[in-house]
Symmetry: C2
Subunit: 338 residues, 2 copies
């Protein structure tokens, strides 16, 4: 691999000079020198060594982004809007995936730290305070996206879950539903808690006390669990007229069951999140869409600010999601209200 030293030798200049010419767009060297250095670098096929550079400068100029998985378009959409911001500021971005495994989350964060990343954007697994303690002890800037950890003092950019819960529930109420089932997940992250709170508030507003039999929590990422609960709802003496899931993925599973029923027995279904799948004409799930692009952009900007000046109060940036009304709550027998 050709190094700066090879260029220096080939062109008959010192290493320092070559480094300077190649590293800055300074004009403190003669036109002739600069031209010769660049030409030689080109000719020799020189490619800077990022690690040596980082070591020499004392900073990696890189940040990390941590996701639980890469399904749907979560990671895709967030990165699409975060990357340009980060790159414009001269940062390279490493992507970490923990596959919902706390152990792996720790491991990935650890490699982030070993690579001396200057900041981390993370969608944290719920309950893993220790992992992010690690990050903060290491003095690395941290911004949570989409969710957060009570107890870790970091900036947050996320959808306003309370508002989302409120919106979707009011929508169902508006359509005349008085008896709706609430399907949460046992993964009790702050974001999900907020959504639940919003849902309950909306019900309370309408003077409805949720029937305990209609409030259940499915095991995370276990489709079977969701289907079973759904069937139980439907088998009740007085089944719900609507099923509201606090996460789109769960709502989609609910639909798997519901779509087998004859039209007149199907409850309305709604979710929260805005998975791309929910927008397909054959699924058409009513939901509140998380503004992922906006979240990614703002999170990146906030991280840059943090990297700039470490200290300062934590910002909690909650963005409103948009209600997407679709067939799953409108083209039903009770269309137009009771």
């Amino acid at each position: 691999m050709v190094s700066i030293a090879d260029i220096a030798e080939a062109v008959g200049l010192s290493i320092g000079t070559v480094s300077q010419v190649l590293g800055r767009q300074d004009t403190r060297y003669s036109e002739r020198t600069r031209r010769r250095v660049h030409e030689t670098a080109q000719r020799l096929g020189y490619r800077p060594n990022a690690m040596a550079k980082a070591l020499g400068r004392g900073r990696s100029s890189a940040v990390g982004v941590m996701f639980a998985d890469l399904t749907g378009s979560y990671a895709n959409d967030i990165l699409a809007s975060a990357l340009p911001v980060l790159e414009a500021a001269g940062f390279h971005t490493l992507i970490g995936v923990n596959y919902w495994n706390p152990e792996r989350e720790k491991q990935e964060l650890e490699t982030f730290l070993e690579r001396r990343l200057e900041g981390i954007l993370a969608l944290p697994l719920d309950g893993q305070l220790a992992n992010y303690h690690l990050v903060q002890e290491a003095g690395v800037s941290l911004v949570f996206m989409c969710d957060w950890l009570e107890g870790i003092p970091a900036d947050v950019v996320a959808m306003d879950g309370y508002d989302a819960g409120l919106k979707i529930t009011r929508h169902l109420l508006d359509r005349g539903h008085r008896r709706m089932a609430i399907l949460g997940v046992d993964n009790q992250s702050e974001q999900l808690r907020a959504r639940q709170a919003g849902i309950r508030s909306a019900l309370a507003e309408a003077g409805i006390t949720p029937d305990p039999a209609l409030v259940r929590f499915s095991r995370t990422s276990d489709p079977e669990s969701v289907m079973t609960l759904t069937r139980e709802f439907l088998a009740l003496a007085e089944p719900p007229t609507a099923i509201l899931a606090s996460v789109d993925a769960v709502a989609l599973e609910v639909q798997e069951v519901v779509c087998k029923l004859p039209l007149e027995r199907r409850p309305a279904v709604a979710g929260i999140g805005g998975l791309p799948m929910s927008g397909h004409g054959m699924i058409s799930l009513t939901t509140v869409a998380e503004p992922l692009a906006e979240i990614g952009r703002r999170a990146a900007e906030l991280l840059l600010k943090r990297i700039g000046k470490k200290r300062g109060a934590c910002r909690q940036d909650l963005l409103r999601g948009e209600l997407a009304v679709r067939d799953s709550t409108t083209s039903h027998p009770w269309k137009g209200g009771v």
Copy 2:
């Protein structure tokens, strides 16, 4: 940041000793020394600097994986099976995304090279020979996944597109379709070419010469284009009884249009790829599923071999996809054949 030198000083040993103790599981040092070094490292909160380590050893122990985007579960599933293999061999994995932009693909590959990655797993954009020439000139091991570039001598692990085309077409023929529309995409990658070839072979087998009016190519990633073509098919004097898309994403768009039609006018729809969405009960698209997990695992293994011994003939590992028969081709008026 605490370094190996800090530990050495604190414990009263030389830097070399500390490095050895921390870096190997050798037993060539006294029990006492090893214990003290480890304890001190722990106490001081030492975290090795990955970049310094790489520089010192002359190898990065890292590889890169390049994707076009992170939607669906392509990247997710491939990584899920590739990462364990790579990690077991002591490699860290960097993820690159090019968002279908050749310029960005080049840029990302360039940073891979600047970080001195030892190998690259890539799902290449079609037609960008130059980008991967770059990689090979740099002497970095390369394995293509899912698709490949004619002209770049690299190992390949992908679904057998020809076989997939054959399978899905035969399935439609079996169900009695004689007049089917073929919807490709103008992105003519090798994988897509192979699928088209398979489709044509199956038709030829059945003695069918495709009606030119029924073979069209949509602009990649342009839903409008797909919908328009679909409507044109349906508006023909003699409309097709089935629409076969060479990519699931396109088939899903076709379904967007088709699902609005009354049942008796709906053609069957089929795709190739196996997007997770296609398996949802409300979509239920017949397709040939790419064995992503297997592709990821094998690609990683092949890459490791390549990193071991650079030279050797290129392997082209084509895996059979599995036909998933679903409602989109079975629950139709012509169910059971013409």
